[in-house]
Amino acid sequence: MHGVKRVRYSREALEAKKQKEQAKLKEYLSLNDDVLAKRNAGDWSKDAFDLTTRVLHANAEFYTVWNYRRDILINSIFPNSSPSEVHDRIGDELSVTTSLLKQHPKVYGIWNHRRWCLANIPDGPSDTDLDGWRKTIWNKELYVVEKMLDADARNFHAWNYRRYVLANMPMKRPAQAELVYTTRKIEANFSNFSAWHQRSKVLTSLWEGGQLDPHKSKEEEFDLVKNAMYTDPGDQSVWIYHRWLVGAGNAYDILQREIASIQELLDEQPDSKWCMESLVFYKRLLLRHHARQLSEADRLSLTQECLRLLTGLQDIDPNRRQRYEDLAADVKKIN
């Protein structure tokens, strides 16, 4: 971290650490040989199962051993267990993955094992309540994903898993609740593509399902995104969301209003590349979709403005100079 001094350790301390690491390495290599030997021999005993636990704690990415572990569960442990025992075993498996996820939040194998667990919950607890166990465990999953996203709001594994849980849980939650969740995540740190993306998915479903008035809701969204824009005009995720809100640009009034708003921001912050780029994009939308509502003079001045902005962009963002030149050529050709 910036400004933090490195801590100095004595030579003896570093030597001692190195010795410890060598010992650990030796132990791991022998574990590795051991577990693969057992697997190749088709060993599905309890000892083999415990061995997979040790190996996975040392190396959670070892997907071969995850598969081996599941083989033992399916072929040896589950067939010899009552539904209640299977249920407990699934609970234990989930606990193991939870503790591993805390240290390794982005390992595919661990998330994958969780999905497998969820898919293998037995019917129960009783004949009259066949879904009870499933409901409890799936509900808890959402809580676990929330903890993971609290720790790292941009972990796409967690967001994907969240969507998987929301879509498949026996007792579905209202989409409104998910909207509130994305609001919370965005307020905590709006530099988060995943949160905005989730929000766009939820809103789409709410609009199509008739649960939210799209018009009013969009106005609130424009207000939210404008606050983000003014707070940090350099954050790309905000502009991407804005672009999604504007959509095809069919609403003339909205387009004009947003252009004016971005222009105000550009006046306050003249070096903002995203303002300039967005203005070009939206003005071109105007020219493309609303040519009939514009006078000849308006169309001409819009074109001039686009060209002027693109020239400015070449200075501010020289890495993409060629792109802006191409865009300018495009503008000139069409208009």
Binding site: E12, R54, N139, P174, V180, T183, D232
Partner: protein, 556 residues
């Protein structure tokens, strides 16, 4: 007892220096006339605080002594007659402070290993007082700015632009050119179009200026330090130490000094310091303590200018090399204990329809943040002229610490008020601070059982005067013992701890070269058992390398 250096007084600076010298391999004896560690930075129980106050308020002889020096340093003392039950569960600090997460003290805590001895609480909230019953949160991060319902869009942009500027290398920027001495508030207005409450929040609750006249450069330097401290341990840049903060930290450094071989003698006064006529191990000084037969011999004496010694009036000068002298004023202080929490609730309405629809349907969603969020560890800043009856020139601050900082029992909070006295005044500490106390108490959360206004359980008022600047003379040939004194620490709430640390480091190096001139080098133990001996080593750094690598990996 024969040592290399004797350190007098166990305030934070002296304790850090004692620890560094001891760990470097010097033999150190560390003395304090008080029966507790920490000196003027100490953490005291409630009963100890009452004794402390009464001793200094009582009249006494004016012959030079520690007691009379303390009576000069702490004046205008008044307190409520009440006693606090559960006295030992309080750790009340004589020098309340907040510690930036990136800075010299944190570095020293880690490098010395003292970080293992103590715990810290992150400051929860900072707010400024804007009127009766009205308090505004201080936005210190992008999230705060984004969420704020108070700032206009343009204000948000301007504030963010300023924060980005302040967090970067502003020294070369054209906005800054020629403006180092401009008053900071004016700078904010001229260059960033920031006014009113936003500018006040930046100047007084982010940069911690004590008045509107403070110049831009030091204010910007402070803001940058604090901005770079956010995120290291949490959203706030500041930590508050457990058990009363600096006193406990000083004690931690003393402990590590003792582990490295330093000898500790508390509760004994220095009777005399002599130049030994015949060489006792070739040492320069011999110290005799009251009530102890054994004397101490050493080559170096270290004591702050506030620690007077009998028969040796300390030389003082108007030394302009004393750092940050502009930030050293008398301070009016109050310590108030209450049994109701404070709340900085902003008049925000809970979010509209979308949330409340979802709430009912969704039982697992976290609770909405309560309208009145009770605070455990927080800071309230009163800008100049914000309070009727308060100062129109200086900024007052109130540090709230509750159970979470392990300095008060459950259900009790200790409030530390401080007001720098920038102008001469004859008013008492109580008269100066009463309006602030009342305004702060009006922010407590009323108890539904007894909705009357909050009465404090205990109050103490006093004025703390700065120590005189130390002299820079090193009279090695004269008969008067030459005492090495650290520079005085800044009295600013977020600066005191780091200032004490950098002063301790300067003191350490001066001590090393003074001891070298006296022919003394630090020694380290070598060999084991029969071959044990000592070898002389060189001092490589402020702290020696750590002997254990902290390994967070678990075993599998």
């Amino acid at each position: 007892m024969d040592v290399d250096a004797v350190v007098l007084g166990s305030g934070l600076t002296e304790s850090i220096a004692a620890a560094a010298l001891s760990k470097a391999g010097y033999k150190v004896a560390h003395l304090d006339v008080n029966p507790y560690y920490g000196g003027d930075n100490a953490s005291l129980t409630a009963d100890e605080l009452v004794s402390w106050a009464d001793e200094r308020a009582a009249a006494g002889p004016s012959n030079p002594s520690y007691a009379s020096a303390q009576r000069t340093k702490f004046t205008s003392i008044s307190r409520s007659g009440s006693t606090l039950p559960q006295s030992r569960q309080y750790s009340i600090s004589l020098s309340p402070a907040i510690i930036p997460s990136v800075g010299p003290l944190i570095d020293a805590l880690i490098a010395s290993g003292v970080s293992r001895y103590g715990g810290f609480k992150l400051l929860e909230k900072v707010a400024i007082y804007t009127g009766p019953g009205s308090v505004k949160p201080v936005p210190g991060s992008k999230e705060d700015v984004f969420k704020s319902k108070e700032l206009s869009l343009l204000d948000k942009r301007r504030l963010m632009r300023f924060l980005m500027f302040a967090a970067g290398d502003f020294e070369g920027k054209k906005e800054f050119e020629g403006k180092e001495h401009t008053p900071f508030v004016q700078f904010l207005h001229q260059v960033f179009s920031l006014d009113g409450q936003t500018a006040a929040a930046i100047a007084y609750a982010l940069a911690f200026c004590v008045s509107a006249a403070e110049p831009t450069l030091p204010a910007l330097q402070r803001i940058r330090k604090y901005l770079r401290s956010t995120g290291r341990y949490g959203p706030s840049p500041f930590l508050v130490g457990h058990y009363g903060g600096l006193g406990e930290i000083a004690q931690g450094f003393c402990r590590t000094a003792a582990v490295s071989g330093a000898a500790y003698i508390l509760a004994h006064n220095v009777f005399s310091i002599e130049i030994p006529s015949q060489s006792e191990e070739g040492r320069k000084y011999k110290i005799i303590l009251e009530g102890l037969d054994e004397s101490l011999t050493c080559d170096l004496l270290i004591a702050s200018s506030g620690y007077p010694l009998p028969e040796f009036p300390r030389a003082v000068t108007n030394d302009s090399t004393d750092n940050e002298s502009s930030n050293i004023h008398p301070i009016a202080r109050a310590i108030v204990v209450v049994d109701r929490p404070l709340s900085f609730s902003s008049p925000e309405v809970p979010p509209a329809s979308t949330a409340s629809d979802a709430e009912g349907a969704d039982t697992e969603e976290e609770e909405q943040t309560p309208q009145k969020q009770e605070l455990d560890t927080a800071l309230l800043v009163f800008p100049p002229s914000s309070l009727e009856g308060g100062s129109s020139v200086a900024v007052a601050s109130v540090l709230v610490t509750g159970e979470g900082s392990i300095s008060a029992p459950k259900g009790k909070w200790v409030l530390y008020l401080s007001l720098p006295l920038l102008e001469q005044t004859t008013r008492s500490a109580e008269a100066l601070l009463r309006p602030y106390v009342d305004a702060t108490l009006s922010l407590t959360v009323p108890d539904s059982a007894s909705p009357t206004s909050t009465q404090p359980l205990f109050t103490l008022f006093y004025i703390e005067h700065p120590d005189l600047p130390p002299s820079s003379s090193a009279a090695s040939e004269s008969q008067i013992p030459s005492i090495l004194a650290p520079l005085r620490s800044s009295t600013l709430l977020p600066e005191q701890a780091d200032s004490a640390t950098t002063n301790a480091e300067t003191l350490f190096w001066k001590a090393v070269s003074a001891l070298k001139a006296a022919g003394r080098r630090p020694k380290r133990r070598t060999g084991e058992g029969e071959e044990e001996g000592e070898e002389e080593v060189e001092v490589e750094g402020f702290w020696p390398p750590l002997d254990i690598v902290d390994d967070p990996e678990e075993d599998w």
